[in-house]
Amino acid sequence: MAAPKRNQERTVSPLQLCIFDTRRGKVEGQEADRVLGFHPADADSNEQASVVGLVQAMSAFSSIFDQEKPCESMHAERSVWVTHECEPSLWMLLIAQRSWFSGPVRDEALRETLKQLHAVCTLLNGPLQRLLDQDSSGKLARKVLGGLLAQWGKHLGSSRGALYQALHNPLSGREAVPWLPLSRPLFTGVQALVSRLLVAQVGGAVPVQGALLMHEQWCLWSSLDHADTASLVRLASLALLPAAHAAEQPSLGSRITSTLRWQEADRAERHVLDRKAWCLVPPGFLLLSASGTENGRAAELPQIWLQESGERCGLLGLRAGGCLLLLLLAERVAAAPELLADLAQAALPALNGIAQGTAAELAAANQWHIPGIRYVYMDDMLLGVRASPASKAATLSRDSQALVHAVRADLDEAALRGDREVIVRGAHDCWVVAKKVACRNIAIVLEGRGQENLSDAAKTADKYLRSHFEGLLE
C-alpha cells in the first residue's frame, strides 16, 4: 500500500467541500452526476465520486443502527469528515486533513461552517432545490455552487481567511450575530432612522423592504428575522465590510491598479462574496462594481432571498463612518441615481450621528472585554453572541485553549439533553466554568487567577455572571 499512500499525501487538498444530491447518479457509470459542487474545483471527478460514494456507504452503514441521524461525522487518523443534510436529499460535506488544523476544532464548529454556507447560499440564490427544479440537468446549480464554494473555500481554507480564524478561535460565536447593546438615546436614534426609511415613499412606492444596521462587525438593529439577519451579517462581514475597509484605506498596490480599466472587466466576473466585487461609490453606497451608476443608469443590485418571507430583494449598502446600513429594496424597484440620492439624503445625516455615537460607546465599552476573564456567551434562539475579543482569546495558553475546546464540545453534545453545568480545572492553573440553560450558554475561562478549589472558582464565575449576564442563565 506504500505507493497509493504517497500518492494520496501528494494530491489530497487540506480542505475539501462538497455538495451532493443522493437522488442523482444512481445509474452505474454516472456516479459523478451526484456531485453538484466541489472545492477545490480542479479535483479529479473520480476523486469527487469516490468521496461521495464513501460518505453514502458510511451513511447507509450507520443507518442500520441509527435511522434518524445517519453518519454525522467520521474521524480518521489523518482527516475529519463532517456532513450536513442542508435540504432533503441534499448533503454538504467538509473533509479537513488534520494537518490543516492549527489547534483543536470541534465537529459542531465544522458543521456550523457548512450551515453558514447553506444559509449564505440560500440568501443569494434561494433554496438549492429551486435551482434543481429550474434546471434538472443540474447545470444551473453547479454554476451557482461552483462560484460559492470557491469563495467559501478561500475564506475557510486559508489561515488568513475570516472563517478559518473564527473556527480556530476557542471562544468564537461562529454563526451567531454579535449584537451590540446601545445606550438608550443612541438606540432610539437608530430605531427612528430605520423606521423612517422603512416607510419612506419615493415616487409613490415604498422602496425599502427591510434594513439592517451594523457598526463594523457589530449588529445594531435589524428588521429581519434571526436567520436572515445572521446570513446577511455573514455576507456583510465576508464581503461588504472588507470592501469598505479596502476602499477607505487603500493599499499602495490597489491604488495603482484601481486606475486600470481592465480591472473593471475583471470585476464583472467576481462573486458577490468576493470583496473585490464591491466598490464604494460616493456618497457612501456599496454597489457591485460592475453595475456602475454612470450616465444615469440604474445600478444593478445583487438579489437576495429572504427565508422568512420567501421574497426577493435588492441589496444596497450605505457606509457612513464605521456604520454600514444594509437596505433591502423591493425587487421591482430600480436603483436609479435619483432613488439613491433620495435615500442618501434621508439616511446619511442620522447615520453619521449614529456612527459617531457608537464609536464613542464602543471605545468606552472596550468591545465587550471583561477584565480578568475570557468568555463566550451565546443565545441559540436569538442567534446572538457576545464574547471576549479574538485578540484576548488568543492570549490563552495552548492548554487552556484545549480545555475550553473540551468543555464546549461537552456542551455541544449536551445540546439535545437539557440544561448542563460543567466546571473543570486543567492540569495547570486554569478553570473553565460553563453553563447551558435552555437556549443560552456561556463558557468562562479563569486563567492564572490562583483559585484553589471548585467552590472558589464557581464563586468567582458566579460573580461575573451576576454583574454582566444578570438573569440570563438562572
Binding site: 497509493p4 464513501l54 434518524e68 454525522e72 467520521m74 480518521a76 460543567v422
Partner: protein, 580 residues
C-alpha cells in the same frame, strides 16, 4: 471444554513454538481441524464440510465487497459460480447456524448477497479496465450500494429490531473480511454485514488513511485495526470514543489471551484461513467479558477491585498465597471471589498488569467448565506479560457457591502437580483459620463485599435513600492499582438507572485523562438533568462521585472530601496490601 481439565491437559502440550509451526503448514482446512482438536474440539457442532460449503457461499456472495475493499478480484467469477451452485439460503439452514442473529438469521444476509451478486456481474466487467482513481470511484459507489442494500435488508426484517436495538455491539473480522466474532447474533449470518465493514475500512486505508470513528445520532461507531484483525464497537450508551477504543483493545487482548499472537501471525500469513474455528466455544467467555464493561470500571481505571474483608483474614490469605506461590515456583497467585480480588501474590518487580488480571479473571470466571471441574490446568496468554507465550493457569474453586477461586500461574507446562500440592496446602491453611467462612460472611452482609452507602456514616455521605444525595462513587488508589465502589443501592436499584452509571463515569474519565493516561484535568464537575458528577485527583487518590442532580456543588465538594478521609481510615479492610 474438557481440555481445560487436568486429566486432558496433555492435549495442550504443543506450546506456542510448536503451535506456530503447526499453524504455518498445510491448507487452511487442515489447520482448522488441527487447531479445533487442540482447542478442545467443541467449536462447531456441524460437520466441517457443511460449514465449509456454507462459508464458501458466503465468501462468494460477498465477493463484490471484497473486491471493493481492494483484495484480489481474480477469483470473482469462480466464486460467483460457486454461489450459483450452492444456494446460500439452503446451506445456511442446513448448518443450523444463523437463526439467532436477531436479524432473522441467514435470510437477510443472503438476500443482501443476492443483491450484491446481481450487481456484481456487470460491475466486475466494468472494473477491469478502470485502474487508479476511476477504480476507487467505482468501488466507492459499489460500496455505497452494497451498504444501502444491507441497511434496507436489515431494516426490513422485523426480527432485526431486537438486534439493532441492543445498546452495544462488538464485531471482529479478519482483514480479508472473514467474520471472527460478534457479541450478538451469529458471525456466520452476519458475514455480508462484516464484509461491508471490511470494505469500508479497506477503502479508507487505500486512501492512505485509517478509519477511527463514525458518529450517527446517539450512536458512536469505533473502528480499530490490530494486526490482521478489524474490531468494531457500536454503542448508544453515550460512552466516549476513548472508552470504546479501550474496550476494543481489551477485546483484542482477550483474543490473544486465548490464542496468543500466533493467531495474528497465522492470519497475516494466510488470509484465507477461517479464523472463527480457532475460537471454538470461547465466544461466551468473550461476551461475558464485554458485558462486564457495563458494570465494572476496572478496564477504564486500569485497576482491580478488591473484596472488602477483615484485615486479619486478608493477612492470612496473603501469607498463604505467598507461600503457595514460592513453594510451587509460580509467578503469580490470585484468590478471587467472583470478579473481586481477595488476595494477590506477585513479585514487586513484575507486578501483574491490571489489564492482564482483568483478562485472567474473565477467562477463569467466564467459563463454566472451570467451575464444574475440581481442578483445571489451562494455558493462557497474558499479553502485557508476554504476548507471544502462554502461562499455565492452575484453577481451583475453593467454594463454587461464593465464587471463591484460586488461580496460580506458572511458566512451566509440567507444573500441574506442584501447583496442585501447594493449592491443597493453601486450602488447608485457609480452612484452619476460617477464612472461607469469613469470605462467605463478607459476601452476605449488606454491600456483598463492597461498601454500602446506607451503612456508611452520614458525614462520609452515607445514609438511607432520601437522607443523602450521594448515589454512587469510585475511589481509586493509583499507587496500589486498586479501586473501591459501593454496591448499587436505592435510588440506583433499577437496572435502567444502573446502566447509566458507568457511561457517566466514562465520559468524565475520558475528559480528564488522555489516552496515554496523562491527567488533562484535575477537577471535573458536571451537572445535567439526571445527575451531578464530581471527580478530582488528590495527592494519593482519584475520586469519582455521582450525586442527586439538585445537590449544591459546594456540598458535593464537602461530601467528597469527607468521604475520602473516611475511606482512608478503612484502607486495611478495603484494599489488598502490596505483597512480596
Amino acid at each position: 471444554m474438557s481440555s481445560f481439565e487436568a486429566p486432558s491437559f496433555a492435549a495442550w502440550e504443543p506450546t506456542d513454538a510448536r503451535g506456530a509451526d503447526g499453524l504455518g503448514k498445510g491448507s487452511d482446512e487442515e489447520e482448522g481441524q488441527e487447531l479445533g482438536v487442540w482447542r478442545g474440539g467443541s467449536h462447531e457442532s456441524v460437520p466441517t464440510s457443511a460449514a465449509g460449503s456454507s462459508l464458501d457461499s458466503h465468501a462468494a456472495s460477498s465477493y463484490e465487497l471484497r473486491c471493493i475493499g481492494g483484495d484480489a478480484p481474480e477469483t470473482a467469477l469462480h466464486q460467483l459460480g460457486q454461489a450459483g451452485g450452492s444456494p446460500p439460503v439452503q446451506s445456511s439452514l442446513d448448518t443450523g447456524t444463523g437463526s439467532d442473529v436477531g436479524t432473522a438469521g441467514a435470510e437477510p444476509d443472503d438476500d443482501i448477497s443476492a443483491v450484491e451478486a446481481s450487481e456484481a456481474v456487470p460491475a466486475s466487467a466494468a472494473a477491469v479496465p478502470a485502474p487508479g482513481e476511476a477504480e476507487a470511484a467505482f468501488r466507492a459507489s459499489s460500496l455505497g450500494r452494497a451498504a444501502s442494500s444491507a441497511a434496507v435488508q436489515v431494516g426490513q426484517n422485523e426480527d432485526s429490531l431486537e438486534w439493532r436495538g441492543r445498546r452495544k455491539h462488538f464485531f471482529v473480522l479478519s482483514n480479508a473480511g472473514r467474520p471472527v466474532f460478534t457479541a450478538h447474533g451469529s458471525e456466520h449470518a452476519l458475514a455480508g454485514f462484516m464484509a461491508i465493514i471490511d470494505a469500508m475500512m479497506s477503502f479508507v486505508k487505500n486512501r492512505g488513511d485509517s478509519l477511527e470513528t463514525i458518529r450517527a445520532g446517539k450512536h458512536t461507531i469505533v473502528f480499530l485495526e490490530r494486526g490482521p484483525l478489524y474490531l468494531v464497537a457500536v454503542s448508544s450508551t453515550g460512552e466516549p470514543e476513548a472508552a470504546l477504543k479501550l474496550q476494543l483493545d481489551l477485546l483484542h487482548a482477550h483474543l490473544l489471551a486465548i490464542l496468543t499472537d500466533n493467531f495474528d501471525r497465522m492470519l497475516a500469513r494466510n488470509p484465507r484461513f477461517e479464523p472463527r474455528r480457532l475460537l471454538g466455544g470461547t465466544e461466551d467467555v468473550l461476551r461475558r467479558f464485554l458485558a462486564s464493561f457495563d458494570t465494572s470500571p476496572s478496564a477504564m481505571l486500569s485497576a482491580f477491585e478488591p473484596l472488602r474483608l477483615a484485615a486479619d483474614a486478608r493477612h492470612t490469605v496473603l501469607l498463604a498465597l505467598q507461600s503457595a506461590v514460592k513453594r510451587s515456583e509460580a509467578v503469580y497467585g490470585v484468590l478471587l471471589a467472583g470478579e473481586r480480588v481477595v488476595g494477590l501474590a506477585q513479585p514487586r518487580a513484575h507486578a501483574l498488569h491490571a489489564a492482564d488480571l482483568l483478562l485472567l479473571s474473565s477467562f477463569v470466571l467466564g467459563s463454566d467448565s472451570f467451575r464444574a471441574a475440581a481442578e483445571s490446568f489451562s494455558p493462557i496468554c497474558l499479553p502485557r506479560f508476554n504476548p507471544s507465550a502462554f502461562l499455565h493457569a492452575y484453577v481451583h474453586y475453593l467454594d463454587p457457591e461464593s465464587g471463591l477461586c484460586l488461580v496460580l500461574l506458572s511458566p512451566q507446562q509440567d507444573a500441574f502437580h506442584r501447583l496442585a500440592d501447594s493449592a491443597a496446602r493453601l486450602q488447608r491453611q485457609l480452612a484452619e483459620s476460617g477464612v472461607p467462612q469469613a469470605i462467605s460472611a463478607a459476601l452476605k452482609v449488606p454491600g456483598r463485599g463492597r461498601l454500602h452507602i446506607p451503612s456508611m456514616p452520614a458525614a462520609a455521605g452515607g445514609g438511607a435513600v432520601g437522607t443523602t444525595a450521594l448515589q454512587h462513587f469510585i475511589y481509586k488508589a493509583p499507587a496500589r492499582g486498586q479501586y473501591v465502589m459501593p454496591d448499587f443501592t436505592a435510588p440506583l436499584s433499577v437496572p435502567e438507572l444502573q446502566q447509566e452509571v458507568m457511561p457517566a463515569y466514562a465520559r468524565v474519565h475520558a475528559a480528564m485523562f488522555s489516552e496515554a493516561g496523562h491527567a488533562r484535568q484535575r477537577v471535573h464537575f458536571t451537572r445535567d438533568d439526571s445527575r451531578a458528577v464530581l471527580a478530582y485527583i488528590g495527592a494519593e487518590y482519584e475520586v469519582y462521585a455521582q450525586f442527586d442532580a439538585l445537590l449544591d456543588r459546594n456540598a458535593a465538594v464537602a461530601t467528597c472530601q469527607r468521604l475520602c478521609a473516611w475511606i482512608k481510615g478503612q484502607h486495611a479492610e478495603l484494599f489488598v496490601p502490596p505483597s512480596f
